[in-house]
């Protein structure tokens, strides 16, 4: 069995780079259903994609600036919250990113099978 390299700086950097792109895809995918920041973070964590708040919340704003998400302030449980959901452009980008991800996955499987 392979020894876990978690904690090794070189491995952690590579893992961070690998996860960065996938997290954006995961956020877009999760926001096909409307969420606000905290519930989105919980949802991602429940699916095994834990992400720091200080990374997720600025990411949401960047994706909104790029036109991939839309947001609105709405009252829930007597408090105003900012709800995000994927935009039409975001849905198109998500579809293409998922196709790209499948293509990379297939290529990797092919290389590993050799």
């Amino acid at each position: 069995m392979a020894t876990s390299l978690a904690g090794d700086p070189a491995f952690d950097n590579l893992r961070l780079e690998l996860r960065r792109g996938f997290l954006t895809v995961a956020v877009l995918a999760a926001l096909r259903t409307e969420q606000y920041g905290y519930t989105l973070r919980k949802l991602l964590a429940e699916h095994g994609l834990a992400i720091d708040e200080s990374t997720l919340y600025p990411l949401l704003r960047r994706l909104e600036t790029q036109g991939l998400l839309v947001s609105e302030w709405r009252e829930e449980a007597r408090r105003n919250k900012r709800f995000y959901h994927i935009s039409e452009q975001g849905a198109q980008v998500l579809a293409q990113l998922l196709a790209e991800s499948r293509s990379i996955d297939a290529a990797l499987r092919g290389i590993l099978a050799e």
Partner: protein, 334 residues
């Protein structure tokens, strides 16, 4: 919740003014939701330590605020490695210049140690200037590259011709040569105003023969040409036929000047009305120095001839390599 308010206030301080309200409002809601969630799970209000723990995990206010801002960099990753090399070279040159100025300056003053230390103390200021100008230049280059998309317009056919590793020269050697030549030019320029720089204490008894007046400007021009060649070596650190020919020209010029100067027969003469002290015969002193000059001229001529021989050998070796490369299958000219 007082701790949360203090935290949000600290984050707000580092945010851009036009985004402060919006970001703080959203951040506050998210943090309150998390705290309420935790309270629900515990079945009791959170303690101050637990609140602090949530905020600590969320991150330092300055770093949290920084993540909301557009990523900015003065010099991008493409230029950074070249920037580091340029900075090291610049700081090295500044150190060499400072050392040369300190040594030359201390030789000209009555208090050499004090002058040397003072001149060395100028290095931090000089280094700071090098750092500032190098950084600004590379920031400008990076900006221009991002605007003009220089990376898309370059043509591989404009790359320098293939050069064999043995034809590369040491950049450090060329740089040292350049600095030494520049220091020599400065010294030569100072000599007419202060003959002590050449003759030392004997300047009160002796003076240079008239032939040096004739040779002075050609020597300066030759030194300037040598400095230009050394600069070429710093910028393009490999031998080219043109550079070899230029070197041969430079050494041929040296030989011509040596020949003219040698024909004069005397290079130092006694000053009119000069009287030697300590029982030293002035004529004898002039003879000894002239003999030394003659030997010096002969050595200079010999070095010139050796250097011309080296350049000719280099040229021939390049020609042989070029022929070998061209005759090899798929060969390229060097």
């Amino acid at each position: 919740m007082e701790l949360l308010e203090r935290y949000l206030q600290a984050v707000r301080f580092f945010l851009p003014r036009h985004q402060q309200d919006d970001i703080i409002r959203e951040l506050s809601e998210n943090l309150v939701s998390e705290m309420e969630d935790r309270e629900e799970a515990c079945g009791r209000p959170l303690t101050a330590d637990e609140e602090a723990d949530i905020l600590r995990r969320h991150g330092h206010p300055m770093l949290v605020a920084g993540r909301y801002q557009t990523r900015q960099q003065l010099i991008g990753p493409a230029f950074f490695p070249i920037y580091v090399v340029a900075l090291k070279m610049g700081l090295g040159v500044a150190l060499l210049v400072t050392a040369v100025l300190a040594i030359v300056g201390s030789m000209l003053t009555g208090d050499p140690v004090r002058h040397f230390v003072e001149a060395l103390m100028a290095y931090p200021g000089r280094a700071l200037m090098v750092f500032a100008w190098t950084t600004l230049s590379f920031a400008g280059l990076d900006y221009a590259q991002s605007r003009l998309k220089l990376g898309h317009t370059w043509d591989p056919r404009t790359l320098p011709k293939l050069v064999r590793r043995e034809h590369w020269t040491s950049r450090a050697h060329s740089l040292f040569e350049l600095l030494f030549t520049v220091a020599c030019i400065a010294w030569l320029l100072l000599i007419p105003g202060d003959p002590h720089l050449l003759l030392g204490p004997a300047a009160s008894l002796l003076e240079l023969a008239p032939v040096w007046r004739l040779a002075y400007v050609p020597i300066l021009l030759l030194m300037a040409a040598a400095a230009a060649l050394s600069l070429t070596g710093v910028l393009r650190p490999y031998w080219t036929p043109a550079r070899s020919f230029a070197r041969i020209g430079q050494h041929a010029g040296t030989l011509a000047i040596v020949a003219i100067v040698h024909r004069a027969g005397e290079w130092v003469v006694a000053r009119p009305a000069a009287v030697a002290t300590d029982g030293v015969s002035l004529d004898r002193l002039v003879d000894v120095i002239n003999k030394g000059c003659e030997i010096g001229l002969a050595v200079t001529a010999l070095i010139g001839l050796i250097e011309i021989g080296r350049e000719v050998h280099r040229l021939r070796s390049r020609q042989r390599d070029a022929i070998a490369l061209n005759s090899a299958p798929g060969g390229r000219s060097a």
